[in-house]
């Protein structure tokens, strides 16, 4: 071992990761522009003041998020990580709080009402979980061979997973699986454990699928909400009526299916009708005429608005910006000073990538419909600030990277 002076090791390297922030700023500009395109005209028509527009609130969230990132960049991520468990349990408490005090929107209890702002603890839970798991796994790789430690690490993931699943928010809960998996892989957890984890996850997913598609109504092993079941049925293009149903039931099932697949179909029509170059900013008819769900066009389905108005070229630009962020993130992980930095960066990359993939995939029917936001683009303060903090973590790891 070569001894390196601690002062030198901890030196704050100057340097902002410019490609990363250029991509972030680009996404912010796109987000604000298209949230305005989606909601601006109706809000203006309703006489809502400019400071209350959804787009303005989004910009405020951007600025707030950037502020938080700037503040945190003065502190070494390793220092922050010391508080990870405290933050983790605080977030878990908030999730339990949501369960009791939370406000419910559209059948799911996901928000905490704090007067003027509403706050979504599951977003915070993702971040604190990231820190907790990263610092837990940052111990020497050799220690991770113990099954007990593996179980403990898994428990860290399963706890928020279960709480968020209960909200119910299946999509957000499932985000924990790949993140956990990738972080453990990077940390060097033995393959045999990971195979079991993957096997377990695969078993869970296949159980859900089999349950929905094949099992008779009485057999439900995993209690899903009715709408979740419907979304998955739509995704698998399966019949809504049980197999041994009367023609009348079948008819009703088909009707219900048409209703339930409406959002997906409309998102596909939005994206597809955009063609190569799109209809132009503010010219998308799908959201203007209400074909895209009014409540979802500016958040979960913002990608289909962009794709409709800017076409394939616009979609590629968005993908490119995300790719820039993620690959820069992987590069930062590679340059990380220590295992903690490596784990944090790879965790953030996985988390963001999962969001991007699931959300965009949902807009083109590659993925079932879930309420997972598109980082930075979807309207929603909590999501934006948490995404920015996640990217801030990358920046922090970069800032305190090792120098050769």
């Amino acid at each position: 071992m070569i001894s390196v002076p601690s002062a030198q090791l901890n030196r704050r390297e100057s340097g902002i990761e410019w490609p990363l922030w250029a991509a972030v700023l680009g996404l912010m500009a796109i987000g604000a522009a298209f949230i305005f395109s989606t909601t601006g005209t109706t809000e203006m028509a309703r006489g809502v003041g400019w400071h209350s527009w959804t787009a303005s609130r989004q910009v405020v969230a951007y600025i707030l998020g950037l502020g938080v990132v700037a503040a945190f960049s003065f502190v070494d991520y390793a220092r922050i990580a010391r508080w990870s468990l405290v933050a983790y349990w605080l977030a878990m408490a908030l999730l339990v709080g949501v369960y009791i005090f939370g406000t419910s929107r559209h059948g799911a209890r996901r928000w905490l009402d704090l007067g003027p702002i509403q706050f979504q603890p599951s977003e915070l839970a993702k971040l604190t979980f990231l820190f907790a798991l990263a610092s837990f796994l940052s111990r020497p790789a050799a220690e991770l061979r113990s099954p007990a430690l593996f179980a403990k690490g898994l428990a860290l993931a399963l706890f928020p997973f279960a709480l968020i699943l209960k909200q119910p928010d299946l999509g957000s809960a499932l985000v924990f699986l790949p993140t956990t998996l990738v972080m453990m892989l990077v940390a060097g957890v033995p393959r045999r454990f990971l195979v079991k984890l993957v096997g377990g996850a695969a078993l869970l997913v296949s159980l859900i699928v089999v349950d929905i598609l094949v099992a008779p109504p009485g057999w439900r092993i995993i209690q899903l909400q009715e709408y979740q079941r419907h979304r998955l049925l739509v995704y698998f293009d399966a019949s809504f009526a049980p197999r041994d149903s009367t023609p009348e039931q079948r008819l009703r099932g088909a009707q219900l299916k048409r209703q339930m697949s409406w959002n997906v179909e409309q998102a596909m029509i939005s994206v597809g009708s955009g063609g190569l170059t799109g209809k132009g900013w503010g010219q998308g008819t799908q959201h203007k005429l209400g074909y895209l769900p009014r409540l979802g066009a500016h958040n979960d389905f913002i990608f289909s608005v962009i794709a409709e108005e800017k076409g394939f070229l616009g979609s590629v630009v968005v993908l490119g910006l995300y790719a820039t962020i993620l690959f820069t993130g992987i590069k930062i992980a590679g340059e990380a000073r220590d295992r903690l930095g490596l784990l944090l960066a790879s965790g953030v990359v996985t988390l963001l990538f999962t969001h991007v993939f699931v959300n965009i995939g949902m807009n083109i029917k590659l993925m079932p419909v879930t309420g997972i936001p598109l980082p930075l683009l979807s309207a929603g303060g909590t999501s934006v600030i948490c995404s920015l903090i996640a990217i801030g973590i990358l920046q922090n790891v970069h800032l305190y990277r090792r120098r050769y």
């Binding site: 892989l185 596909m268 063609g275 005429l289 394939f312 690959f327 590679g334 993939f357 995939g361 083109i364």
Partner: protein, 674 residues
């Protein structure tokens, strides 16, 4: 690879992560290519079909004009009151919310206090399933009721404003809402100008209503020339249309009789279409004209408005409830100057549909049959007017017009003559005595013409009738005219010897044969103009409805010769002179049409129709004038009249009077032969 180069230091997991991420982006990119590049046509099409509704917009119907361009059928503005559902849709929601809240509180949902924390916690543990207070079906009904409340409120306010009870049933509204939500709901189809004024006044306004102006077929002269013009009917089936799929169609009409039917395609023009942009609730958001309608073409007829009016007025003076027809032809070219059929009807009343009561009491009356066009579709025995044919056949057979023929008295009525065919006796209306051609013609002696006809023989008689194209379509382009309405004796049957002399005798005096008034008019014209059989011409030209558009005018050539009669001029002159004398001579049957300063020439006819238990008469006056330079042919036919001379000659006289008073100079626009 920028990232990969830096990941070469044994960081295999990161390389895997980079690979997986890259793969993920590739999948997304492929998906986007599939949807946005390969599938864009399909999705653009779905976008079209779900957000644009194509509406068929009928074109303005072409006008029908008289020969001088005066309007016989046109379009007049009609004001319609529409309710725009999309403007009321916020009210629907408001009303729905109100009703729903009322029901919920009635069912005790609102009365419960907000449950405390403990209750909420416990209820979660107990996993209570709350049953919805309002079922989905009931909810649908609530929406329906809310919509009806809002719209009927609007209708009620309009109703008090215009002072006219308006009814809108819930099922009407629901049908409109379900089938044509994107279109406005027509509440009142005919607004009077006063009502329009009341509704558009500044001090009164109401959201959701609008007054729509639309052109509707109008017939400014009411029943005038109704059988020539025809009438319209709402067109509800569009099977003849090209496959172009319309979601909605605005009300259109099609011609079902007369010129409206014969020239329906030209008059109708080409329907346009507009696209209505609808939102996800199916309400209208905006509209664009996809293709403008091309107005129908104007049809210029050969009719003369003044003469037509005179003809109809004259015919109506018979007794006011007559059944009959009048045709006025220009003998020099076959132009139909007037064509009247009585009883007439008002084609305008077909626009909004004829009520059942009106149909049974007016239209569907036996014998009256107002819809029947007696000019071209009515087949009647020509009676004595057919003696013109017999005369020509006899003259060509070598009849000496100056030789006298003695008519025997009728044993049953010695004041009248009779003709004996074997043991069969045919009565005469003329007295017994000596008759030469002229006297026989003007007294309309049956015996003389039966004798002449029998001498000429069946074949010659039938051939002469065919030279005037009796028994053939007159080709006026009026629907139905192509059918052989009137019939001629079957030559083969007669020649085979199955015809007894009595039948041939009857044929000579205009029985055993039927003609249409128009066919008879063609015959008289031919006699008058010296032997040219013209096709009667009713349509002069089709011209563009848009005076600025440079479209070809479709002209129907005037004076189309059908055939030449091939009779010797002196024979025709003899007949013309006899016809003149029929009017001029005091013992002539047609003297009731005698007119100062205008020498009318005519032949009367009274055909008796005997059937099982009924006896009826068809009376005729077939004429032309003036004698010196024949110009007009006028044929008058009245069913159940008294006699040709007594009933029809005065009708013709009034028409000639009109022609005389206009002066012998051609009426404006009358075509003259080159």
């Amino acid at each position: 690879m920028l990232v990969f180069d830096q990941l070469n230091k044994g960081q295999r997991p990161l390389r895997h992560l980079a690979l997986a991420t890259g793969l993920g982006f590739a999948v997304l990119l492929a998906g986007l290519v599939r949807v946005q590049i390969l599938g864009r046509q399909r999705f653009q099409q779905s976008l079209q079909t779900q957000s644009y509704k194509a509406v068929r917009v009928p074109a303005m119907r072409g006008r029908i004009l008289d020969r001088s361009g005066r309007e016989l059928a046109g379009n007049s503005p009609r004001y319609r009151l529409d309710v725009y559902l999309e403007e009321l849709s916020p009210d629907f929601t408001r009303e729905y919310t109100r009703i729903r809240r009322g029901i919920l509180s009635a069912r005790g949902a609102g009365a419960q206090p907000t449950p405390g924390l403990w209750t909420r916690l416990m209820s979660r543990l107990r996993r209570e399933k709350t049953k919805p207070l309002i079922s989905t079906q009931e909810n649908e009904g609530l929406w329906r009721a809310a919509r009806f409340l809002v719209v009927s409120n609007v209708v009620a306010q309009v109703s008090t404003r215009v002072g006219m009870p308006l009814t809108l049933t819930e099922s009407d509204l629901h049908r409109h809402w379900a089938n044509s939500r994107a279109l406005p709901l027509a509440v009142l189809r005919r607004l009077s100008p006063q009502q329009v004024a009341l509704l558009t006044e500044q001090s009164w306004s109401m959201r959701g209503i609008s007054i729509e102006l639309q052109p509707v077929r109008s017939y400014p002269h009411g029943p005038l020339a109704s059988h020539v013009l025809g009438h319209l009917e709402r067109a509800d089936d569009y099977s003849d249309e090209d496959e172009e799929a319309f979601d909605y169609r605005l009300r259109d009409y099609r011609g079902v009789a007369g010129l409206e039917k014969a020239f329906d395609a030209a008059l109708r023009g080409t329907a346009g279409s507009k696209s209505i942009l609808v939102n996800s609730a199916g309400y209208r958001v905006g509209e664009t004209i996809a293709s403008p309608a091309v107005p129908g073409r104007n049809l210029v007829t050969t009719l003369d408005l003044g003469l037509q009016q005179a003809a109809e007025a004259s015919l109506s003076q018979v007794n006011g409830d007559e059944r009959g027809a009048v045709v006025v032809l220009d003998v020099r070219n076959g132009d139909i100057l007037a064509a009247a059929s009585a009883p007439a009807f008002d084609p305008g009343e077909w626009i909004d549909g004829v009520s059942q009561a009106r149909w049974t009491n007016f239209y569907d009356v036996p014998k009256r049959t107002p819809l029947m066009n007696r000019i071209t579709d009515g087949a009647y025995s020509p009676g004595s007017t057919f003696k013109i044919v017999t005369a020509l056949a006899a003259l060509e057979n070598g009849l000496d017009p100056d030789r006298t023929y003695r008519v025997e008295p009728n044993p049953a009525n010695p004041a009248k003559g009779a003709y004996f065919v074997g043991r069969h006796r045919i009565g005469d209306t003329a007295p017994p005595g000596d008759y030469d051609f002229r006297r026989a013609f003007i007294r309309s002696s049956n015996s003389y013409f039966i004798d002449a006809g029998l001498k000429a023989g069946f074949d010659r008689l039938l051939a002469t009738a065919h030279r005037f194209h009796f028994g053939e379509p007159t080709r006026t382009q009026l629907p139905g005219d192509e059918d052989r309405a009137a019939w001629m004796p079957d030559g083969d049957e007669a020649r085979a010897g199955r015809w007894q002399l009595g039948r041939l005798a009857n044929f000579s005096i205009g029985q055993e044969v039927t003609v249409t008034p128009l066919q008879l008019a063609v015959m008289v014209s031919t006699i008058a103009n010296g032997g040219t059989v013209f096709y009667p011409r009713l349509v002069d030209r089709l011209e563009s409805g848009d005076p600025l558009a440079e479209t070809r005018v479709e002209q129907v050539r005037p004076g189309q010769v059908r055939s030449l009669l091939g009779a010797r001029p002196e024979h025709l002159a003899l007949i013309r002179e006899a016809m003149r004398d029929d009017v001029l001579a005091d013992e002539g049957t047609g003297k009731a049409s005698r007119l100062a300063d205008f020498s009318v020439c005519g032949k009367t006819g009274t055909a008796e129709i005997k059937g099982n238990g009924f006896k009826d008469k068809v009376t005729w006056f077939a004429s032309f004038g003036p004698f010196e330079s024949p110009r007009y042919a006028v044929v008058v036919m009245v069913e159940s009249g008294g006699s040709g001379g007594g009933t029809c000659a005065p009708v013709a006289k009034r028409i000639y009077e009109h022609l005389r008073d206009r002066g012998l100079s051609a009426p404006k626009g009358l075509a003259s032969l080159p």
